[in-house]
């Protein structure tokens, strides 16, 4: 269900890193040896066995990240992103696996379209990619896709991301059929009769700037509906890019009541509020919109206590000329793969708002668990899916340094701490910033 190009596995020794794998209960200064892409030894001192040796002292080694929500724009908008460029960006951000949304052109709603993507990924993907398929044909909200065939063709989950499934009846049918496919439904929750035509959270900022409001309840009433349906059908579901305190409260209640529901939150919703929109910068325009401080705090609380198990970038590349427009005319969405860890480390971990171990869990183990992916881990016998992080050095977010084909980042020009030094995905080095390294 995940695809990556064939590469020989690394033979590598990482010496003296702080190894942090919360799920394995590891937080210690250790050496790690990788033989042919598989972790062969984790100990205070390992033999180099003629492998390339990296002095990782002062750095932190954790399981690599998993992003459950990425737009690779392929097929259709290869000028904005390709599987090669998107997975290169993912590797630069420390990700070993990403899941791509099906709202491409054409939409991934047939086994043929999906099959072509899988073939491309086998040739081009620098890290593991999984593909979601659409819930409804053409994401039109009228007819279910052939979900069993799509599941056989290795759709990892189903989503109409970008548009909600408006009909409650159709949503129910999709949940019922999910028992046949065994695949999760990942839902974009938006009641469009409440959000229609709006770009900015309904609050003081929208009122002052003159934007029609996109109220929190436009999300939360749909969240409540879908949780009720999932509870009634006793099927799991996953809530994409949660933004509102009311949605978080609904998810928490449903989980306590035994509904198998999970949720994700983006870095921008954890760090920014609608105050950022005062800049009128199209790179803070996304759907769902940035909301109020109370929403941001509720999302962070839910991330800490595990109500929200996953961080998702919702990496949404857009052509430069489309974002260089007045705020109202610009498309929704921002890139995020290459800045996610750094911005969350800088704005949440360093000030003491979120433990590093929790961040690593929510960026790696959490999303893997939700989507049934083998979790990246630091354990002998596991395929190496690791990221080496420099928590001290600061770097400036620059347009010309992005691996992504697009640069619609809300962090351009910002200085961040916490950078990726080395990403090993599926046993092979997918990204490295080690200028000099030698074998023993």
């Amino acid at each position: 269900m995940l695809y990556v190009k064939e590469q020989p596995g690394d033979n590598l020794v990482l010496r003296g890193a702080r190894v942090l794998d919360p799920a394995e209960g590891i937080d210690a200064m250790l050496d790690v040896r990788i033989d042919g892409g598989v972790i062969a030894a984790v100990a205070e001192q390992v033999e180099a066995n003629d492998h390339r040796v990296v002095d990782a002292s002062g750095l932190v080694l954790t399981p690599a990240f998993v992003d459950p929500h990425v737009h690779l724009r392929t097929p259709g908008r290869e000028d904005e992103e390709t599987i090669a460029s998107g997975t290169a960006a993912a590797a630069a951000g420390g990700f070993c696996a990403i899941l791509a949304m099906p709202n491409t052109d054409p939409i991934v709603d047939s086994a043929a379209t999906l099959g072509a993507l899988v073939e491309t990924a086998r040739r081009e993907a620098n890290v593991h990619v999984g593909f979601l398929a659409a819930i409804t044909r053409g994401q039109g909200g009228a007819a279910l896709t052939e979900m069993a065939e799509l599941a056989d063709a290795s759709a990892i989950a189903f989503s109409d991301d970008g548009v909600p499934v408006a009909s409650a009846g159709l949503m129910r049918r999709a949940l019922q059929y999910a028992s046949v496919t065994g695949r999760l439904l990942a839902l974009h929750c938006e009641e469009t009769s409440l959000s229609h035509g709006s770009h900015v959270h309904e609050g003081a900022v929208a009122a002052e700037l003159g934007f029609a409001g996109y109220p929190s309840i436009a999300e939360s009433v749909m969240v409540e509906r879908d949780l009720a349906l999932a509870g009634y059908e006793d099927q799991p579901l996953h809530l994409l890019h949660l933004s509102a305190a009311e949605s978080v409260a609904a998810l928490r209640r449903a989980r306590e009541a035994g509904v198998r529901a999970s949720g994700e939150v983006t870095p921008h919703h954890l760090v920014l509020t609608d105050e950022a929109v005062r800049s009128l910068d199209p790179n803070v325009k996304m759907n769902p919109p940035l909301r109020a401080e109370r929403d941001r705090v509720a999302l962070l609380d839910a991330l800490r206590d595990g109500t929200i198990e996953a961080i998702a970038t919702d990496h949404a590349p857009h052509a430069r000329h489309e974002k260089e427009a007045p705020f109202e005319a610009a498309p929704f969405g921002v890139t995020g793969l290459e800045t996610a860890f750094a911005v969350l480390y800088t704005r949440l971990v360093r000030p003491g708002l979120l433990p590093l171990a929790t961040l690593v869990d929510r960026m790696s183990t959490g999303p893997a668990r939700i989507f049934g992916i083998d979790r990246p881990r630091v354990a002998v016998g596991a395929t190496a899916n690791l990221v080496l992080l420099d928590l001290e050095g600061e770097w400036r977010v620059r347009e010309d340094a992005f691996r992504s084909r697009s640069s619609n980042s809300w962090l351009l020009g910002e200085t961040l701490a916490g950078s990726v030094v080395l990403t090993i995905a599926a046993g092979a080095t997918a990204y490295e910033r080690l200028a000099v390294a030698s074998s023993q």
Partner: protein
């Protein structure tokens, strides 16, 4: 021995220094407003002369870039520039490259190539003036961007009020109608706050934005206490069919229309135009001696002269500089 060296990024050089623009009333201080109104008063005095043209901005190029239809604003900006002896270039979206799908950025770059001193822009989308400020070297004056701001309208309304009442502080203005879609209302609310005018919003519930932080009511009787009733246009072009902000214009007129019966004797009425007679304003009110609508239009000319003068020169010597938005 093994070594590791991190490749770190360079710092970016700082951006260019800020230029003076008038993008939003939110960028102005009370001093700025008083200086602008004072400058407008000076220009008004010169309008009594037989020869009305002043040499002040001779040799300057002012581009009026209008993406929305406009009579009052475009004519008064053009005339203001001409009265100050500036060269003017008037571009309307109809009949220009905009018709051929040219982006705002490219149009702005094209016009920017003539090195205009000022670009006056009206655009249906919020933030368009900021974009033009970002891509050209001109001083930008916002002549209305979507539902966001119309700062020169607010300034000319303050000028009109001051002329009529001799003061601004302590006045009470009721703004009536479609506040939700009104850039005029947004600019006025900020301008009133700056100069100490009490403001009450009156209108149908769906047309009063939440969270605006201003006294608001749906009860039309609330206009009684106000010195001035400021009537907003019902913006039919922004009222999508089926959006149901109000059940009908007929019902709006019956419930919130400004009629002689709803006004006190001598209560003043303002309207930014164009008026929908019989909808938000009764024709008898529009034509009454208590209507300040024509005075508003006259104020528009001298206030826009003051704004063009101020963004280009920084105001009279010795007076604090205009704290306009800093756009890199």
């Amino acid at each position: 021995m093994n070594s590791i060296r991190l490749v770190r990024d360079e710092l970016r050089p700082p951006g260019p220094p800020p230029r003076r623009h008038l993008l939003s009333v939110a960028d102005l201080t009370r001093d700025d407003v008083e200086r602008l109104l004072g400058t407008a008063g000076t220009f008004a005095a010169s309008m009594d002369r037989e020869l009305k043209k002043l040499p002040t901005l001779k040799g300057r190029l002012i581009v009026n870039l209008f993406y929305e239809s406009s009579t009052r604003t475009s004519s008064s900006f053009e005339l203001a520039a001409k009265r100050l002896s500036a060269d003017t270039l008037n571009i309307k979206s109809v009949g220009s490259s905009v018709d051929k799908g040219e982006s705002l950025k490219d149009t702005a770059l094209t016009l920017g190539a003539y090195d205009p001193d000022v670009i006056v822009i009206r655009h249906p989308q919020i933030g368009a003036p900021q974009l033009v400020a970002n891509v050209t070297g001109a001083h930008i004056v916002n002549a209305g961007d979507g539902k966001h701001q119309h700062p020169t309208q607010a300034l000319l309304d303050l000028y009109t009020l001051k002329h009529e009442f001799g003061r601004l502080e302590g006045l009470h203005v009721a703004i009536v109608g479609d506040v939700l879609h009104s850039r005029v209302a947004r600019s006025l609310i900020q301008a009133f706050e700056l100069v100490g005018i009490r403001c009450t919003l009156v209108g149908p519930p769906a047309l009063l934005p939440r969270d605006l932080g201003v006294e608001a009511t749906t009860d039309i009787a609330a206009i009684r206490d106000a010195d001035v009733v400021y009537v907003l246009r019902m913006q039919n072009e922004r009222m999508e069919q089926g959006s149901n902000f109000v059940p009908s214009l007929r019902e709006y007129a019956a419930k919130w229309g400004i009629t002689p019966e709803r006004l006190r004797v001598g209560q003043k009425v303002m309207h930014p135009g164009p008026m929908n007679r019989g909808v938000e304003i009764d024709p008898r009110v529009a034509d009454s001696i208590d209507s300040l609508v024509e005075a508003q239009v006259r104020s528009g000319l001298v206030v826009r002269m003051a704004v063009l003068y101020d963004v280009l020169t920084g105001g009279p010597v010795g007076v604090r500089a205009l704290a306009a938005a800093e756009v890199a």
